[in-house]
Symmetry: C2
């Protein structure tokens, strides 16, 4: 049987103030297309459906439209909530919705009933924190995520003669080695949420969400599919793709089909005159200018790069390390502050003509007050 | 066929800071019971399911639990959104949920497809404002609610050889006569939202929500069922009940079965010593004290009436009409203000002993500053 493994959709997300909704609409369209062409038997979505616990109506409508199309294709879907979702809101009316083959994880209540599909048992584990597990096992010491998930899994009535698939949204490590993370995750940086992959020994495939770069943890069948889009510039070199899992009894084959996003995400640096000679590019851009004297840079660059998410001036950043003397700062006039700033930005001093312009502007401001 | 007509549940509502959730849970339990005992063929819910467009998780879970029980009983439900609901949020996944016989109105999009049930066509009209209708009929002048709903109804493809039921949430008037309103509605007080009942001539029954007192408008078959609970003291004398509509071809019979709320709602007035002699009463109380000198009244009264929603002092209110001279007010000391206030409240002057107590308290406050 063949499944699509998705996760970290973050529908409704804004990246550097750019709405991702159209990019997400296109990605979901490609998933529908692949579902048909690959004749998949089911879809796993491993959490972070939405970017917020109370998603916008626009986000809800996009996801609903996608899921209804999946239901129309008679493809069952298995969906768990992530740390960005409200488990309760996401699973409202899930009992009634499941009649259509669309299955949402319920709020964790101490037990999980697997969903059978031929010889496969599919287990839906919503994102849980230690406290969510602790209250159902008051006699067991649950100090961290490892304890929590270990206890959750121990309490599953797994029939190992069948093929078992777990869908989960957690921070899984392999012998202490962490997954490669990106800037767009809000995964913890400590070690408290580490969950060792050996906990999942009884599962034939673990469809993970939470980490935005596709990667396996410990063994190839414990896998983060990654987010479908690049949600931060730390992901520019990642390959976002649809993960397809083929399961023959307990034999697992994984392949991936690259997404074709509306907008690529790119980082470039250089002098503005060189950049302005490039071909028009609608990618989401992070541009670093190496020039020392650029006026109105963003407007100029937008004629070639209409979607600039981030514009940096290399000089500005390299000078930030400089020590600042607060006493001197206080004694300076506004004019002196400005000319210092100008010099730092451009590595050149104000010309006499420029000095006159600045003085007259400062005078105007003073009078306006 | 037999239907329960409900509306204005306002699940999650707080009345005078008291949560109604347990009262609502009990009411929904009684509806389930009546659904079974009366062997009803369907349930209409005419809007204002929730009290807020983004309801609390507690409210969502209560309504979900109720609806799942109705679905388990194989009783179809027909639900429209009210002005307190978010039409989009309420109807999320309604297409998939409808497989279970639970039907939510969709966001109005210029047309409505009736839901057939044997020889009956059921029309779900979510609460709409003129602007919601106008954008689908740009060439028609829609200045008010009358124009809007007239246009909505004119565009329905009604087969009058069948029995037609409309479920709606609007402000319906009969030849200019308004429905009797209550303090707990947020219905407009103007005339802009009036919709004359003659618009609904082609419907055999119009199941209305919006107005909290049960009443028919124009003819008995155009009916507000009223809210299931008293949500303001203006409703103390209303009889809240389950409306049961029996439909035989086009003959309509309406009966009602009174709700038995956990808490009644009552208004009483009198002297505190008389009230304290009454039997313990857990009703939601509005108490008006006629005494002139009561210290710690609320705590004392709560020994008999644990659920006081509102406590008034008759003297205080009757004196509010008095003219106040701002100049004199400014010249008075705090002590003089207090003794005036005391006199107004109690109709008695401060005794010398009381004067000493007040003076010493005022001194303490001054020193504390």
């Amino acid at each position: 049987m063949k499944f699509i493994h998705l996760g970290d959709l973050h529908i409704g997300k804004r990246v550097n103030e750019f709405s991702m909704i159209n990019d997400q609409r296109e990605i979901l369209k490609q998933i529908i297309k692949v579902s048909k062409s690959e004749k998949v038997n089911g879809i796993f979505i491993a959490g972070d459906i939405y970017d917020k616990t109370i998603p916008s109506i626009e986000a809800i409508e996009l996801f609903e439209d996608f899921i209804c199309k999946i239901a129309d294709l008679k493809i069952p879907a298995y969906i768990v909530s992530g740390n960005h979702d409200s488990s309760e809101r996401l699973s409202t009316f899930s009992k009634l919705i499941s009649l259509s083959g669309i299955h949402f994880s319920r709020n964790y209540d101490g037990k999980i009933i697997p969903l059978p599909l031929e010889n496969i048992d599919i287990w839906l584990l919503p994102f849980v924190r230690p406290a969510d597990v602790r209250r159902f096992f008051p006699d067991i010491e649950i100090g961290n995520y490892q304890d929590a998930i270990e206890n959750v899994v121990k309490n599953l009535d797994i029939d190992t003669s069948r093929t078992n698939i777990l869908i989960a949204h957690q921070f899984v490590t392999a012998n202490g080695k962490k997954p490669e993370i990106s800037d767009s995750e809000t995964s913890s940086l400590g070690t408290l949420d580490n969950i060792d992959y050996r906990i999942f020994d009884n599962f034939d495939y673990v469809a993970l969400g939470h980490i935005h770069k596709p990667q396996s943890m410990g063994r190839k069948e414990i896998r983060y599919c990654g987010s479908p889009l690049k949600y931060s510039f730390s992901e520019v070199n990642q390959n976002k793709s649809i993960t397809i899992v083929e399961i023959e009894d307990k034999k697992i084959d994984i392949k991936s089909i690259p997404f074709k996003p509306i907008h690529e995400m790119k980082e470039i640096r250089g002098k503005i005159n060189n950049l302005l000679k490039m071909e028009k590019d609608e990618s989401y851009m992070h541009i670093t200018l190496t020039d020392t004297n650029v006026i109105d840079a963003k407007n100029k660059l937008e004629t070639i790069f209409p979607n600039i998410m981030k514009l940096d001036f290399e000089e500005y950043y390299t000078n930030l390390g400089e020590k600042r003397d607060l006493k001197t700062l206080k004694e300076k006039t506004i004019f002196e502050h400005f000319s210092d700033f100008f010099e730092k930005q451009t590595k050149e001093k104000l010309t006499n003509e420029e000095k006159e312009i600045v003085s007259s502007i400062l005078l105007d401001i003073k009078e306006a007050k």
